[in-house]
């Protein structure tokens, strides 16, 4: 009897230990980021390292906003990502519906390959094309390029959701005199709302996180946040505090979204099983 309880206690401890080993690297990197961003420069370069900011300072954050065009880059990110998600939804939701209902396997394969293709390989031809059009360095070029991210993920997720909605409901609407557009708009879309939420969240995250498009196509005043912290902050100031503060601010919206909408994200990713290009 005692050996059994001992065994059980050992198994429990082992399990707790494995949870700890799995979760701690994830949390530690973010905690270190937080710690760096709230410490002054002396503590950030101290040896041995200072772990808990004492006293915590907001100087790094003040510096991010005062010395850089952080708000401009934030606006660029909102404009590009917001625009690409909205256009992605406007064309992607109907497309997912059309593909799901017409069971067009070829189109679905095209979407999958589009989703898998490295972002960088779109960039070479699009860069040349935008050069001809004189669009390099504009918001328009960035927004159009971000459609490469948002449209495939939204279409792919919507195909899955529309397939799960029985077509009989729409047929009934058609019999009652609805046009195909009306049966889509008033029957299928409301039922697929969870899918639209999942699709927009994932499209938002992957577009927000994109770095390389803005490095190549973004101008000094149009670049999005990820390329701005890389270009502006890393070269103009080597100090760790403001850099960590900026990095945290860039990734904060996405982390908050992950925490708030983790159920939807998990559903979307295990459904699509695919990540960003």
């Amino acid at each position: 009897m005692t050996t059994l309880t001992l065994k059980r206690a050992a198994a429990k401890t082992g399990f707790a230990l494995s949870v700890f080993v799995l979760v701690s690297p994830a949390i530690l990197v973010f905690l270190w980021m937080l710690s760096l961003s709230f410490k002054n420069e002396v503590d950030n370069t101290a040896w041995p390292p200072v772990f808990i900011p004492n006293p915590p300072t907001l100087d790094n954050y003040v510096q991010v906003f005062a010395k850089n065009n952080f708000l401009l880059y934030l606006w660029n990110s909102i404009l590009v990502t917001g625009g690409a998600v909205i256009v992605g939804l406007l064309v992607g939701v109907p497309a997912g519906y059309g593909i799901a209902r017409s069971k067009s396997a070829k189109f679905a394969i095209l979407i999958l390959i589009a989703r898998m293709t490295p972002a960088l390989s779109y960039l070479v031809p699009l860069f040349i094309a935008f050069q001809w059009l004189g669009l390099v360095g504009t918001h328009a070029a960035l927004l159009i390029t971000h459609l490469v991210i948002t449209i495939p993920i939204i279409v792919w997720i919507m195909i899955g959701y529309f397939e799960n909605i029985p077509a009989e409901l729409e047929d009934a609407a058609l019999v009652d005199g609805c046009t195909p557009w009306q049966s889509f708009r008033y029957v299928a879309v409301p039922l697929a709302r969870p899918g639209i939420v999942v699709g927009s969240i994932l499209a938002f995250i992957f577009s927000w996180n994109n770095f390389i498009f803005s490095v190549v196509l973004g101008g000094k005043s149009t670049r999005t946040l990820p390329s701005a912290i890389y270009n502006v902050l890393t070269f103009e100031q080597i100090s760790w505090g403001p850099l960590a503060a900026a990095a945290l601010l860039v990734t904060l919206p996405v982390l908050l979204l992950t925490v708030i909408a983790q159920r939807e994200i998990v559903a979307g990713l295990s459904a699509g099983g695919l990540k960003d290009g």
Binding site: L22, S102, L120, S121, V124, A129, F211, L225
Partner: protein, 310 residues
């Protein structure tokens, strides 16, 4: 949920008629819904693919002139020591960045599949690295790798381990970048396999318990075979993602020291946007694209097969 998307592609997709017996004849109109997306996809996705193939057959002068050179770019590429080296580095990186996350992700999925206190919160924390902006966390990793002031060398010193050069030595740069990639993407493997575990039948376990099987036996002879299709999917997705890795290497090591971490993607970026060898870079894209298409089709095949078996 996991398998629904595959049904658009599978033979099961052919739905005959409504339960009422009334035959469908609506399907012909549905393609209209895909027209706006198709126009955009043709412009920003299909056009770049075709244009890249065209560009790869040319020598692009900086002034704007193009000279048709046929397959010369590909010939030069295969003779290019730096390209072959980048293929080798990509291969090593990919093998490590596939095997380790899939092994760890499987373990993590088994852990998160069982009930324990705070499971939801801990799972959210575990998934966070995957969602975080790669550039932002890469900058933090870079600070942690600092040879003199980095926190990682301090932690090593606590255990009496001599400091590592991390990304600042050609010997350790690839394992270090693999570590970051493992940190980043193990959660995705975990999520895919968690979805797989949720769908497993209960009966085999019940009869195994009656037969006196222990935990390892149940994992080895029941869970693993049933989970195998999902592990295959995770392996293929990881392979594609590991081949595509760019942000973390670009930010943390910039392909260095020297060319020690110059993967295919970094090589491609430098050729295109540093040296402006557009034709040459396009040839790299064409080869890259071929690999990705092959893997995507393998993924589709695996998904369908797992659907048929299920």
């Amino acid at each position: 949920m996991t398998q629904t998307t595959a049904s658009a592609l599978g033979p099961t997709a052919a739905r005959g008629s409504a339960p009422s017996g009334k035959p469908y004849d609506f399907s012909r109109k549905y393609w209209v819904f895909a027209v706006p997306a198709t126009v955009i996809i043709l412009a920003v996705i299909v056009f770049p693919w075709l244009f890249t193939v065209f560009m790869s057959a040319g020598d692009w002068k900086i002034g704007g002139g193009v000279e048709f050179v046929g397959l010369d770019n590909f010939r030069t590429l295969f003779a290019d020591e730096r390209f072959r080296d980048s293929m080798r580095i990509t291969f090593i990186f990919t093998v490590l960045a596939v095997v380790i996350p899939v092994a760890l992700g499987t373990a993590a999925a088994l852990v998160f599949h069982s009930e324990f206190p705070f499971r939801g919160v801990l799972r959210t924390i575990f998934v966070m690295p995957m969602m975080a902006t790669p550039v932002a966390v890469s900058l933090v990793w870079k600070m942690m790798f600092h040879p003199q002031l980095g926190v990682l060398n301090y932690i090593l010193s606590l255990f009496g381990i001599p400091p590592s050069a991390w990304v600042f030595s050609p010997e350790t740069v690839i394992p270090t970048l693999v570590m970051v990639e493992v940190w980043h993407w193990t959660p995705l493997v975990m999520l895919i396999l968690l979805g797989g575990l949720a769908g497993l039948p209960k009966e085999p376990y019940e009869s195994a318990v009656i037969d006196g099987a222990n935990g390892w036996h149940m994992f080895r002879f029941i869970t693993l075979p049933l989970l195998w299709p999902y592990i295959m999917i995770a392996l293929i997705i990881r392979t594609i993602d590991a081949l595509k890795v760019f942000d973390i290497i670009f930010v943390i090591s910039e392909g260095g020291p020297g060319t020690a971490s110059e993967t295919l993607n970094i090589f491609l970026y430098l050729q295109a946007f540093q040296f402006y060898k557009i034709g040459y870079a396009s040839a790299v894209v064409v080869i890259f694209f071929g690999i990705i298409v092959a893997l995507s089709l393998l993924l589709l095949y695996t998904r369908q097969k797992s659907k048929w078996n299920a």
